[in-house]
């Protein structure tokens, strides 16, 4: 069942410049992304800094206004939903944030933070039910329910991330956008949070859109992975096949760049030259062509469309042949 469908989404930010502060240019943070998330599945969104993955995640749950395109959630177009309607709808899609220190209001106790979520959507019939629900949520994320009266600064980074998860769970959402939920945590604590997210999904059945820059983490947790570069999706497919058999030259480079623990598996490393170009003036044609080791002249002129290149596996590259059967 299709839970979320994003069609040709664009998020552009204006830049004011010059003598009269006129809008001359735009940062094309997200530049035409389409994706789908099925109920209960995890889709990974991976890319380097500035590729637009966080912007995309925020735009999907309407924390940012999309410039163009459509977001369809559970059959309803929520792109232009406003006011009370949007607020009611928000119960169904939540977000977990990157910064465990900034995502909790330091002036509220853990109980108040989680309670706020319950109060907004009036999910508890009485004060005692509310209290019970808070304690249950804390237990669910592996925290001591007695800590509901403590303040965020009394917890470690991993524990704060659990509080953030409990807050998102409080409204029983069907989709959670996880924005780099483990990248600010210590290595030994990352696994706890990843396992917790997986356990919760198994118990509660919500879908995740998992945004991260760590390819191994994304592969581990997701069924499908999308690779973003300069505001566009360049490749997408089932996570195992995408990692084992990457087709886009960027994905190949990205995978080969990940340092390997196992000294035996000395693979050939593709070192990309140069830096990620500015999203203000992305290169013409394929945005990756200036750094691409196999680019041909066509790449600088035509934007390659995202085509199905093997079953369930989509690639935006002129050099990767499309599947024989024409796709609709």
């Amino acid at each position: 069942m299709k839970l979320l469908e994003v069609r040709d989404l664009k998020v552009h930010f204006p830049i004011r410049q010059g003598l009269f502060s006129l809008v001359r240019q735009h940062v094309k943070a997200v530049d035409g992304v389409s994706l789908q998330v099925e109920a209960g599945e995890t889709v990974g969104l991976v890319g380097e800094s500035g590729c637009g993955k966080t912007t995309l995640g925020r735009a999907i749950i309407r924390l940012l206004e999309p410039t163009h395109g459509h977001i369809v959630f559970d059959g309803q177009d929520i792109t232009h939903l406003e006011g009370e309607e949007l607020r009611r709808k928000r119960r169904q899609f939540q977000m977990i944030f990157q910064d465990p220190y900034g995502s909790l209001n330091p002036r509220m106790t853990v109980g108040e933070i989680i309670g706020e979520a319950i109060d907004i959507h009036r999910l508890a019939a009485s004060a005692s039910a509310r209290q019970e629900r808070i304690e249950q949520l804390l237990k669910q994320v592996g925290l001591d329910p007695a800590h509901a009266m403590r303040y965020p600064h009394e917890f470690s980074g991993g524990q704060r991330q659990r509080i953030g998860i409990a807050r998102a769970l409080a409204v029983e959402p069907r989709l959670i956008v996880c924005d780099e939920p483990v990248s600010a945590l210590d290595v030994s604590v990352q696994a706890q949070v990843i396992n917790l997210l997986q356990d919760l999904q198994r118990q509660l059945g919500m879908a995740y859109l998992f945004v991260a820059h760590d390819l191994a983490v994304v592969e581990h947790i997701s069924q499908r992975v999308l690779v973003m570069y300069l505001g566009r999706v360049v490749e997408g497919g089932p996570s195992k096949s995408l990692i084992r058999d990457p087709q886009h030259p960027y994905t190949q480079a990205l995978i080969s760049a990940v340092p390997e623990v196992d000294p035996a598996s000395k693979k050939r490393r593709i070192i990309l030259t140069g830096d990620v170009p500015s999203p203000i003036q992305p290169p013409s044609g394929c945005p990756f062509h200036p750094r691409c080791p196999v680019a041909v002249s066509r790449c600088s002129q035509e934007v390659p469309p995202l085509r199905e290149t093997s079953p369930g596996h989509w690639t935006a590259c002129h050099l990767v042949p499309a599947l024989e059967t024409p796709q609709s």
């Binding site: 470690s156 991993g158 524990q159 030994s188 696994a191 623990v261 196992d262």
Partner: protein, 332 residues
């Protein structure tokens, strides 16, 4: 009883750097909190060592102590020695220390953007290093040469840039060029790629690897990523809560880690293309400075902890030639 490298490696015998029983406190609200506790290791000329550990384990402080760069207060050296070229840095005059800094030991840091002075042109910052340690070659040509060495395109134009005009990867290359300008014998890199993207990280690792081969300097690399260890290090030092818990040649340690912490840490990271459905997480939290547990500092999180683990601090023992472990039950 300081751990020494494998006897079969053919490094020259005199250690370039010796850290012996280093102990360091941080003073906070009138309390002395032990941040580094009895850390010892040595580094031969040309050798490369990785210090691995999580936040607050004391790895960066140890590395900064080599050139006495930890401001004191709040830091206070309680015990131990750090010898560079056989001379204790704690007994050096300011003048000697200035010659060691840059002259023998150079640094690069995690945030290249914050480590370069924003108001000076990058060329001038490199030139400053040259003037200090190699005044004869303090020329524009030499700066351009250094920028070429670290792989910066169009170096003649870049020397007039200010740091904020360059990308993170380029800034880190500038830092490396600046560190190399003085022809140091030891480069200390404190998480040099943590702030960078994966593809840029690969560039910098490749550069460091290449430079080591070409220049033959020693490298002390601080990281929390075991992936980088295999690429760059001859030996690995694993730290936890201010102590060394394991020390071995990198190939040995990566293939067969012995301390429960090292093992748990390596297992808790998902592997690319790995099959496991579930990660083996280490329970609990990384202990904070000042609240290190009694006994073995890892015991509250250790899957193999026994009653005696909470009583006394285990010693760091050489269990196999060149392989040191701070756990009496390493065999189980």
């Amino acid at each position: 009883m300081s751990p020494t490298p494998d006897s079969n490696t053919n490094f020259s015998s005199a250690p370039l750097l010796e850290v012996c029983g280093l102990q360091l406190d941080f003073l906070k609200d009138g309390q002395a909190l032990r941040a580094v506790d009895d850390v010892s290791f040595e580094l031969k000329a040309g050798e490369s060592i990785c210090l691995v550990g999580e936040s607050g384990c004391g790895k960066s402080v140890t590395a900064l102590s080599v050139a006495r760069l930890v401001p004191s207060p709040p830091a206070r050296y309680v015990g131990g020695q750090i010898r560079v070229n056989g001379k204790n840095v704690f007994e050096m005059s300011p003048k000697e220390l200035q010659q060691i800094r840059g002259g023998v030991v150079s640094y690069i840091f995690q945030e290249p953007g914050a480590s370069l002075n924003p108001v000076f042109r990058v060329g001038d910052q490199i030139l400053e290093s040259l003037k200090l340690h190699r005044p004869a070659s303090a020329t524009r040509e030499e700066v351009v040469q250094l920028l070429k060495l670290v792989g910066i395109p169009a170096p003649e134009a870049r020397i007039h840039d200010y740091p904020h005009q360059l990308s993170g990867g380029m800034q880190q290359r500038i830092m490396i060029a600046m560190a190399l300008a003085s022809h140091p014998r030891l480069l200390i890199a404190d998480e040099p790629t943590t702030a960078l993207d994966v593809t840029i990280q690969a560039q910098i690792i490749e550069l460091l690897k290449d430079l080591r081969q070409r220049i033959g300097m020693s490298l002390l690399l601080i990281t929390h990523n075991f992936g980088i260890v295999g690429d760059l290090a001859d030996r690995v030092v694993v730290m936890y809560a201010g102590q060394i818990v394991e020390l071995a040649a990198s190939a040995t340690l990566l293939a067969r880690p012995l301390h429960p912490y090292t093992r748990a840490l390596m297992n808790s990271v998902p592997k690319l293309g790995g099959e496991s459905d579930r990660l083996t997480a280490i329970p609990g939290n990384v202990p904070n400075l000042g609240s290190f547990p009694k006994g073995c500092r890892f015991h509250p999180r250790c899957p193999k902890a026994r009653a005696e683990c909470s009583e006394s601090v285990p010693e760091l023992r050489e269990v196999e030639p060149g392989h040191w472990v701070r756990c009496p039950f390493w065999m189980s």
